[in-house]
Amino acid sequence: MSNASLEAIAAKSGQPFPGAPNNWQRFFSFSTDHKVIGIQYIVTAFVFFLIGGLLAMVMRGELITPEADLVDRTVYNALFTMHGTIMLFMWTFPVLNGLANYLVPLQIGARDMAFPRLNAAAFWLVPVFGILLMVSFFVPGGPSQSGWWAYPPVSLQNPTGNLINGQVLWLLAVALSGVSSIMGAVNFVTTIFRMRAPGMGWFRMPAFCWTVLSAQMIQLFGLPALTAGAVMLLLDLTVGTSFFDPARGGDPVLYQHFFWFYSHPAVYVIILPVFGMFSEIFPVYARKPLFGYKFVVVSSVIITMLSGVVWVHHMFASGTPSWMRMLFMFSTMLISVPTGVKVFAWVATVWGGKLRLDTPMLFALGGLICFLFAGITGIMLGAVPFDIHVNNTYFVVGHFHYVIYGATVMGVYAAIYHWFPKMTGHMYYEGLGKLHFALTFIGVNLNFFPMHPLGLMGMPRRVASYDPEFAYWNVIASLGGFLLGVSTLPFILNMISSWILGKRAPANPWNAIGLEWLISSPPPVENFEEIPLVVSGPYGYGSHEPLVANHPAGELNSEHS
């Protein structure tokens, strides 16, 4: 096809033609292309990642000395509340939604999501509630200070007496985030159920799509509980009802049930897609099929189902009766079984493989190591007597930061580097990537490992000052925190410079198997010229079966394995 007719088509569709440099303006417009929306999500999430990270570094700065000398206690309370809220609602969910948005239609062979306009609307709510949260820094009384879980009766205090206060804005933002997530979940579930390419049976679907489906199911059935609790808390704050106000007959523990019924499963909304990324990345860089693919897939589903019956383990110290604590201790421990299945599958995948240690693989391995550590401390915390001992100490903070930063952030980095050539059509700079990995991995362990001994020694969380005996580990943790801050610089530098200047990426730079690698980088509008006919499962490394029947590139599969 001549260049002139290409340009004619491009002009007609209002989109740049494939292979043409990306027109950056379309990333700032209301686009219904899932690929544009995916990148919009990811970039927005990283803007908030930096804001949330800066708040964390102020906190680590405060904690480098035992006295509360950098910020006062009120500001410190606002800092940890906003740090947690931003990182969960403004970074984790959006960035994972972004990756899923970008990858799921490509991986299942669809032209777009099931509801493209709903998809765009769900994204544009993200900056709206992000701004709502940011506004709370400027209202009288400052942002919410009740922690990201907003437990009453603390969250019901309103010292300034204003109707518009940090807590109300917080609740509105969380409610909007819920609306956005449910819109997204309806879209993902419909897309995955209804729009898989012909021939792609359930057990031919990539593991990442399975984990996205599992995670979005949790959003659908867990989030409404949080929304219900948030609505009631908002009514308590604004209208004067007394659902959660113990002074007027309300039940603050009921709020905890509503909150954790969603917010515990939310950790699987976060970690399951990361498991999916691991499952996609290890086979490519070890040149082996994913070991026990069906077990990996089924374990995601089992984790999803179990996730709904473990929330009370956050409330072992909330006056929960003993029989209930036993029950939830048991169900919590049970989750380690399907999780362990996955870990063994990854180890077996990597075992004896010809490892290629590119940046995505390094991040995936680093993330897996951190996840293993987090898993072990997680089992410890699941045991009632141990949990009560370290309840509200830094041990818990250390545990979930290994999950969220160690496994999730590193998993997301791995995924971004792995699919960066596909998304942008350019290769990233390997040297900067490896530097980024080294700084991140050292930073994570320096920052979050010391929290475990601190917790065992009894240092409480959410405090701006502490006993001098805790100073030693806190200094190390703070230095690790600053290192993590520094670690984002090579990442940002790499992303921006290689997107503009990086060398052109071929369609399949990693010789990977998957529908997304059969089309050009970046993929054309509507992804597939002809919807592929899938004839074999994913991860057929070393097999001679082609992946698709009607695509010339489908045969690449056997050559490259």
Binding site: P18, R194, L235, G249, D251, L254
Partner: protein, 201 residues
């Protein structure tokens, strides 16, 4: 590397195809949404039950209990409207547009009667939204359900209006099916709510 991957031909008629596909997926997506929505109601029901079984002085001072007669009439009207809307849909499938409109309008009238009945009941009650947890949960549950009834009547109005648009009605098929499903959903929720609040006193 096959050069075919880099073939930049665009599927220019794709936009139309995507719109048709979206139509096909709507009902599936809508059912998924309703499942999610039912968890909100479920959470409120669980909350109500927890409060009712745990709070010793459940009713506010001076309140004996709730009058059941009028809400029962309301319930009968709302439940019957689920059958009426079913017949409206049947008429539409038989392409009897006037039969559809008549029964559809009757559904709207019954829904509006329900809302009117609820408004009358609310105004006559001796307790308010902020009178203890009982008042809070009562108005929260009935109000949240009432909002859904209102949404349902509004959707029905839109569908009725669309039935008069020339040549546009085929596209309204999904709208009618979804509105009808929503109406059944609102109905089932009300039955649970009625038993929970009025029967179990």
């Amino acid at each position: 590397m096959s050069t075919a991957n880099l073939d930049p031909t665009l599927n220019t008629h794709g936009a139309h195809a995507a719109e048709h596909e979206e139509e096909d997926h709507r009902m599936f997506g809508f059912i998924v949404f309703l499942l999610s929505e039912s968890v909100i109601f479920l959470s409120f029901f669980v909350g109500y039950t927890v409060y009712k079984t745990n709070i010793p002085d459940w009713l506010p001072a001076g309140v004996e209990g709730l009058e059941v007669r009028e809400p029962l009439i309301n319930t009968i009207v709302l439940v019957s409207s689920s059958f009426v809307i079913y017949f409206a849909e049947r008429f539409l499938h038989k392409e009897n547009l006037w039969g559809f409109r008549a029964f559809w309008l009757l559904t709207m009238a019954m829904g509006s009667f329900f809302l009117y009945g609820q408004a009358v009941e609310w105004m006559g009650l001796p307790f308010g939204f902020t009178d203890g947890v009982f008042g809070g949960t009562f108005y929260l549950l009935t109000g949240f359900h009432g909002l859904h009834v209102m949404t349902g009547v509004l959707l029905q109005g839109i569908m009725l209006g669309r039935s008069f648009l020339p040549n546009n009605y085929a596209g309204g098929e999904f709208g009618v099916a979804a509105t009808s499903l929503f109406w059944h959903f609102v109905d089932v929720i009300w039955i649970i709510l009625f038993i929970l609040i009025y029967v179990w006193q």
